[in-house]
């Protein structure tokens, strides 16, 4: 199973990438968050929320594969 992970704004700046594909099996969002914080230590300095398939989810939400996951820093529209 694969996840598309998308990074935006200051999150993209911290990860130095805009998008990547990761291989996973049944994974709670909390675990993904911890994995990404290990992979990109600068993420720890950024306030971000996680959206799955364009909706916010809580950390217990279980990713089963094929989802689009987005790491979203604070909004600045308007």
């Amino acid at each position: 199973m694969t996840l598309i992970i998308k990074y935006f704004g200051m999150v993209a700046e911290a990860s130095c990438k805009k998008e990547e594909v990761l291989e996973f099996n049944n994974l709670p969002v909390q675990n993904l968050r911890n994995d990404l914080l290990k992979k990109y230590p600068r993420l720890a300095t950024v306030d971000f929320k996680i959206a799955v398939n364009q909706s916010f989810v809580n950390d217990n939400f279980v990713l089963t594969g094929s989802e689009e996951v987005a790491l979203l820093p604070p909004f600045a529209g308007g």
């Binding site: 935006f8 398939n53 987005a70 979203l72 529209g77 308007g78």
Partner: protein
């Protein structure tokens, strides 16, 4: 995941006064409208730590942003008795003095249009995944954050 019904509310670059004038003109055939209320967000040349903002570079999670713009517009139609409701937000570089947000509602009577434009504008600020880099004269930048 694509839904053909979702409009694209994102505009490349600044929203021009001509576009706003044209949009107003398109509503003159709708003779059941008595009131329009238009909100425009304009980029300010703020001074931050002695440096002047010259532009904001907007980026967005396009699909989610358009989905949320659509939900906000739907919610406005549910709450208020509107004839029309339009939202446009810039992506990319918008210089100080240029317009980055255009919210336009129309109704038979003024209270609905006033309330709807305000509601939509407040919702956009908190719910739409649009990100902005404030760019200074010396090409340094900082990330803008609402509230």
């Amino acid at each position: 995941m694509k839904d053909k019904k979702i409009k694209n509310s994102l505009v490349e670059g600044p929203i021009t006064p001509e576009k706003i004038g044209t949009s107003i003109a398109h509503h003159q055939v709708k003779t059941n409208i008595g009131a329009h209320d238009i909100f425009l967000g304009q980029v300010r040349a703020d001074e931050i730590d002695g440096k002047i903002v010259t532009a904001i570079d907007y980026s967005a999670y396009d699909e989610m942003a358009n989905k949320v713009f659509d939900e906000i517009r739907e919610a406005a139609f549910e709450k208020f008795d509107l004839t029309c409701g339009h939202i446009y937000h810039s992506k990319g570089i918008v210089k100080a003095g240029e317009i980055c947000l255009f919210v336009f509602t129309s109704s038979k009577h003024r209270q609905m249009a006033f309330d709807a434009t305000r509601f939509i504008t407040e919702e956009i600020k908190i719910k739409v995944p649009v990100f902005g880099k404030e760019i200074f004269e010396d090409d340094s930048f900082q990330w803008k954050t609402n509230q």
